[in-house]
């Protein structure tokens, strides 16, 4: 799951009456489509200038060490794939990282460790409850949910 196999692309192409290549070129073009196996959680560390100035290289190095993988690799348990991504538009809260479709911002190394633990725990629970998920536990992590103009503190108003 989370990636587009050649078989899946061929199936969609047939449905849309297109050449598979017309779709495959989109799969390889866009960053958010994957044409290879990825882990349950795809970690995208922003590596653009503002995050670089805010310590993203240190964050990436730390994640490589903690997960025991290099960039673009997946952990053997299939949980994490580590990518770098280009500017996420979170430049005032560097360093930023995207986990699947969720932003985590102004991350300290200690928070990253807790985030990895939380994600592992979530995956364990999901397996136990057959993918039904569960409530998150532990201290809140700096998930991007709020915005105060020019203020380093975030308000937590992530409701839609």
């Amino acid at each position: 799951m989370g990636w587009l196999s050649p078989e899946a692309v061929a199936e969609v192409a047939e449905e849309l009456e297109l050449e598979p290549n017309a779709l495959q070129q989109l799969v390889t073009f866009y960053e958010m489509f994957h044409d290879h196996h990825v882990g349950r959680y795809v970690l995208g560390v922003c590596s653009s200038l503002s995050c670089y100035l805010g310590g993203s290289d240190g964050l990436l190095e730390h994640l490589q060490k903690r997960l025991g993988i290099a960039r673009n690799e997946t952990t053997p348990d299939g949980l994490f794939t580590l990518h770098t991504v280009e500017c996420l538009g979170a430049c005032d809260r560097a360093p930023a990282m995207m986990v699947n479709e969720e932003y985590y911002e102004r991350l300290t190394l200690e928070e990253v460790d807790r985030l990895l633990e939380e994600l592992r725990e979530k995956a364990r629970r999901d397996v136990e409850t057959r993918g039904l998920g569960g409530a998150e536990t532990g201290a809140p992590l700096p998930k991007a949910e709020g915005w105060d103009e020019g203020s380093p503190s975030q308000h937590k108003d992530g409701t839609l």
Partner: protein, 429 residues
Amino acid sequence: MTEKVLFANMGVPNSWEIDVYESRGGYQALAKTLREYSPADVIEVVKKSGLRGRGGAGFPAGMKWSFIPKDPGVQKYLACNCDESEPGTFKDRQLVEYDPHQLIEGIVIASYATGVSKAFIYIRGEFAFGARRLEKAIAQAYERGYLGQSILGSDFSLDLVLHRGAGAYICGEETALLESLEGNRPSPRSRPPFPAVVGLYGKPTVINNVETLSNVPHIINRGAEWFASIGVPPRNTGTKIFSLSGRVNRPGNYELPLGVTIRQLIEEHGGGVVGGRAVKAIIPGGTSAPMLGADKLDLPLDFDSVAQAGSMLGSGAVIVMDETVCIPHAVLRMVEFYVNESCGKCTPCREGTLWLRKILERIVHGAGREEDIPLLLDICDNITGGKTLCPLGDAATGSVTSGIRLFRGEFEHHIRHGCCPTDSLAMKH
């Protein structure tokens, strides 16, 4: 403090809800437009206001709208560009997350002015949270009769569709955006014809940035003269949202009149440079804009002043580098972005950016050669100046040429001594 216009609703609880927006005067500009103005009147007001595009190019919005053919029999489209991907820029993200109705109201008025019956918002795929907020806001606007058939009982109808991208900087380039909307591989088109004549699905298309369109309801409500009195009239009017990031104490989005100086932005609003250090270089408009040195701190941030200083205001993303930042390293980081994001259609951009990266890598890793500096400049020269279909190639060279012009000594030091001249990389944790 200067008055907030676009950010007036920031901090108001549930500012993204239609009830809150209406209670603060929202959708009054649309009602006024449909009641009192002809489409040509709206274009005239926006022209008079002096509003220039906030996406990067700074083209006058009213003039852009006036290029759309008036023939009512021709299908026309509007595409709102929310592909915000220019490194350093995060203003549209805040606008759609916290005031989506302000944007929707602007889109409806702009569509009325240009005879558009179907509009799109192209939002970058990474902005999943903003997309959810917009999706809900669009549904609310339909429910209240601000979108759909016979808007507010008038004979004007408009459909608005939210389209999520999937991660590609090039989709912020207007013709690539149209290709992406059509489901094609998003490569820029050759111009002319321009999108105002041949755009989406071959039809006349208005393309405006989120911040540009968000300004429109305020111009209708308060008049062209009011808008034109803010900033540096007559050519640089209104407020601008500056996305301030890098080595400052209080990074963030700041809405200020055009013409505020870089020093005011950094010191009065951004809380100064981290650690009280000195500024080494500033990028005034996203990494596509050439760097400026510390001698330009008193430069007014408006389209014309920044262009005269040899750079560009672009998206208004101001990135601050302090004295501990190694310029060759920073330039390499900026170039890597363009290597990854070049769509590959034009050879000078596709190949040139690769060579820029290769040479910069050997310079910062201690294997640089004496001839590398002129070689970098030669490659830049062979990318720029109309050799590519879109500005991405030119953008890729801005940091290289300005970096060498302002900080040549740092490149030479790397080449001769194989190490950084700056006490840098304090940026690691």
